[in-house]
């Protein structure tokens, strides 16, 4: 090491402690700006291009393994699958006919009641390219981004229920926060009796909890939770989870209710993004806000 040092004898630059203080302050500044404002998304988009290339290189072997596995399915397995599927399709054909009759009946009743017909939502198919690599978060990345008109806030579902919500959009990639993420909430209601509640992710792989539900709330094990559609972010009626455990301890104000998501949150490769949800009218202002707006004492506080 001695000779390395002699080269730097006259010009060693700032001391290590000064460098640490500089870079630590820079990091803290970036953290603050990134957490409070959205100024850095453009820089993130640009840096994502080389990172994305390296990441695809890292996930390439597992992808190859996956595809090889799909290719090498044995013939007996295919025959079995075929039989099972044929059986399923005959069973479902009968159900489908019943469903068509019911749908016609429901449509008739709705038009009689002049209830606004519930729209079928436009959606687009997207494929999962990476899953989360951070133990703190439950996130995954889809192969559609702002170039395919994906917007942050749109809902992601699979064929059985809600999977999550898009939280960040890059040009060709978008980031989905799963409903099991600890920071994610979904407004739900019990399908059986219409009771409203809020479902929180637990951070674990397959668990959701209902918080702030009173001890005497009418929820049983096996109840299905669907989105309530309140606040307009989620469309109403999408299946979310099934209740697996209800713990009513009178010592606490709220019951402990655990659910498992109905959608294969950690399984699928293809997911659907709901694109054109109808906008709800904005919330009318409260009496307090009206008074504040009209009062001459607070001239700047216009909503």
């Amino acid at each position: 090491m001695e000779h390395t040092r002699s080269f730097r004898f006259f010009n060693r630059g700032p001391s290590e402690a000064a460098r640490l203080v500089f870079f630590a302050l820079l990091s803290l500044l970036l953290l603050f700006v990134d957490a409070r404002f959205k100024y850095l998304e453009y820089a993130r988009n640009i840096l994502f291009i080389p990172v994305n290339a390296l990441q695809s290189l890292a996930t390439f072997p597992s992808k190859l393994w996956h595809e090889a596995g799909e290719y090498l399915i044995t013939q007996t397995r295919l025959v079995q699958d075929n039989e099972q599927l044929r059986l399923n399709s005959t069973e479902q054909a009968a159900q489908l006919q019943q469903l068509q009759v019911l749908q016609a009946e429901v449509g008739h009743l709705r038009s009689l009641l002049a209830v606004q017909q519930r729209a079928e939502y436009p959606m687009q198919l997207a494929e999962i390219i990476f899953v989360e690599r951070d133990i703190f978060k439950r996130k995954l990345f889809l192969n559609k981004g702002s170039s395919a008109n994906v917007l942050a806030g749109q809902i992601v579902i699979d064929e059985t229920g809600v999977v999550g919500q898009i939280t960040r959009v890059y040009p060709w990639v978008s980031e989905v926060t799963l409903i099991t993420d600890k920071d994610h909430t979904v407004p739900v209601q019990v399908l059986r009796n219409g009771l409203r509640a809020i479902a929180f992710g637990s951070g674990g792989a397959g668990e959701i909890t209902l918080r702030y539900t009173p001890v005497n709330a009418e929820i049983e094990v096996g109840d299905v939770l669907v989105t309530s559609g309140l606040d307009g972010t989620y469309p109403p009626g999408l299946p979310v989870a099934r209740v697996t455990q209800v713990e009513r301890n009178p010592a606490y104000p709220f019951a402990r209710i655990a659910c498992t998501p109905l959608a294969g949150v950690d399984k699928n490769r293809q997911l659907l993004i709901l694109t054109g949800l109808p906008k709800l009218p904005t919330r009318p202002e409260t009496e307090v806000e009206k008074v504040v707006r009209k009062s001459p004492k607070f001239p700047h506080k216009t909503p």
Binding site: M1, H3, T4, R5, R8, E16, A17, R19, L20, F23, A24, L26, S27, L28, L29, L30, L31, V33, D34, A35, L40, A43, R44, L47, F48, P50, V51, L54, Q55, L57, A58, T59, S62, F130, V131, E132, R133, D134, I135, F136, K137, K139, R168, E175, K182, D183, G203, A205
Partner: protein
């Protein structure tokens, strides 16, 4: 090892920038493999290890600035906030650069004990930032620093022998 380490150091002084960059890229690739579940919780932080190796063995080539830049790349890849990895890696690099003489005095087993608190500290910084922002702590996360420290000795041996090999082929 402890007697031969300083002499090796003289021979190994000329290691090119491309070798350093290549080892960083491989470490980033290893970190970005699709780890899941417990594998993710127990995954050693390869990037932190390689950074610490270069900070203790080449403190004038690789320092806090480079650690910070690698941290920013890791932030983009993990979709964490800008500066979260960067802060943790900067502190790690500072520890490595300041303690580089001390670490090199010891043999590999003692080096592991010296390196473990540094790795733990950088993970603690990352976890603390996350805790401040979101309000919950993930304790399993700290187990991985044990695995990182356990990987220090094999990693050092491997990189030393690779550098040795490059040196000899360079002379021929």
């Amino acid at each position: 090892m402890s007697e031969s380490a300083p002499r090796n150091q003289e021979f190994l002084s000329a290691s090119s920038g491309s070798f350093i960059v290549g080892s960083m890229l491989i470490a980033l690739l290893l970190n970005w493999l699709p780890w899941q579940g417990w594998g993710l919780a127990l995954r050693p932080d390869f990037v932190a290890l390689i950074l610490l190796y270069w900070c203790t063995h080449k403190p004038y080539r690789v320092g806090i600035g480079i650690a910070w830049m690698v941290g920013i790349l890791a932030d983009v890849a993990d979709a964490s906030l800008f500066g979260q990895h960067a802060l943790a890696y900067s502190v790690l690099a500072f520890g490595g650069v300041v303690l580089h003489r001390r670490v090199q005095m010891f043999d590999l087993r003692q080096q592991t004990l010296q390196v473990f608190p540094l790795l733990l500290l950088s993970q603690a910084i990352y976890a603390t930032v996350h805790w401040q922002l979101s309000g919950h702590m993930v304790w399993e996360y700290f187990i991985s620093s044990i695995f990182s420290a356990a990987l220090w000795a094999p990693l050092t041996l491997m990189l030393q022998s690779l550098r040795h090999l490059r040196n000899h082929s360079g002379q021929l």
